[in-house]
Amino acid sequence: MIRLLLYALGGLLLGGIIHIATVLLLPDFANRDAWTSLGRFGQDGRFHVLPMAEPGTEALPYLDPEMAYAACRFSLENGPVRIKAAMPDDFWSIAVFNRRGSNVYSLNDRTAERADLDLVITTPVQMAQLRENPIAALNQSIVIEVPITRGFALIRSFVADPTLVGRTEAMLRAADCSAGLPTADSPLPADPDEKS
């Protein structure tokens, strides 16, 4: 009798563990999340401009119809990711999300205090390596450390008027999600903008 009770208790505990593990893992297997939806736009490592949100054809739910969006899925496994883009004068922001769609970093035109975007995303280990061997060519870049290895970057760009959609989308299409990262060993390229 006691043995039967023990088996029942063991089964209950095992069931509970499996239940909790399943619930916690569920987001990684969900296929209707932002990560999977963005994967349909094309290959990783480059920006894809989302079509302007219009009733019935939105790429993702809860998009702002007044914003143009570009998204890029990236992986930090093969080194830091550098994002370069010329941005419009109006409001824009770039946000970095983890695989599950939670925001880990964001920057907008006012906090960037410049018109173009030059963002280097690193893991904590890559950040430590960059600190030890600083790359002079990245002096003007914004270098951030994120606790993720895979994620996506989302650029939002305000479109004040429908006539500006074309121009904004052209700028977003030109955004580079895998800009070259100069090596520490290479000689410093002559930068005409650099003030010493």
Partner: protein, 83 residues
């Protein structure tokens, strides 16, 4: 917006207002009419008489910190009539 986060279709093609295009009173305040029939001023047309979801988005605002949330006046939503 529908409850599932998708925009609502409407014949006028107007799904949103932003701060630079909304018509304001002299003191800077504004009023947006949400209705099926055309209204003067800012009119956000809806094609349904069912449930709708209104979303206010604030970009680049210090409010997102949450510390001063008690001091801000959110827009009021009033039912002005039944059609």
């Amino acid at each position: 917006m529908h409850g599932d986060g998708h925009l609502m279709e409407n014949p006028a093609g107007r799904t949103a207002f932003h701060s630079r295009e909304v018509l304001r009173r002299e003191d800077g305040s504004f009023e947006i009419a949400v209705s099926r029939t055309p209204e003067p001023g800012n009119w956000l047309p809806v094609a349904t008489d069912g449930r709708i979801r209104l979303i206010l988005r604030l970009y680049d605002t210090p409010l997102s910190g949450g510390a001063t949330i008690g001091d801000i006046a959110m827009p009021a939503i009033e039912r002005t009539g039944c059609s």
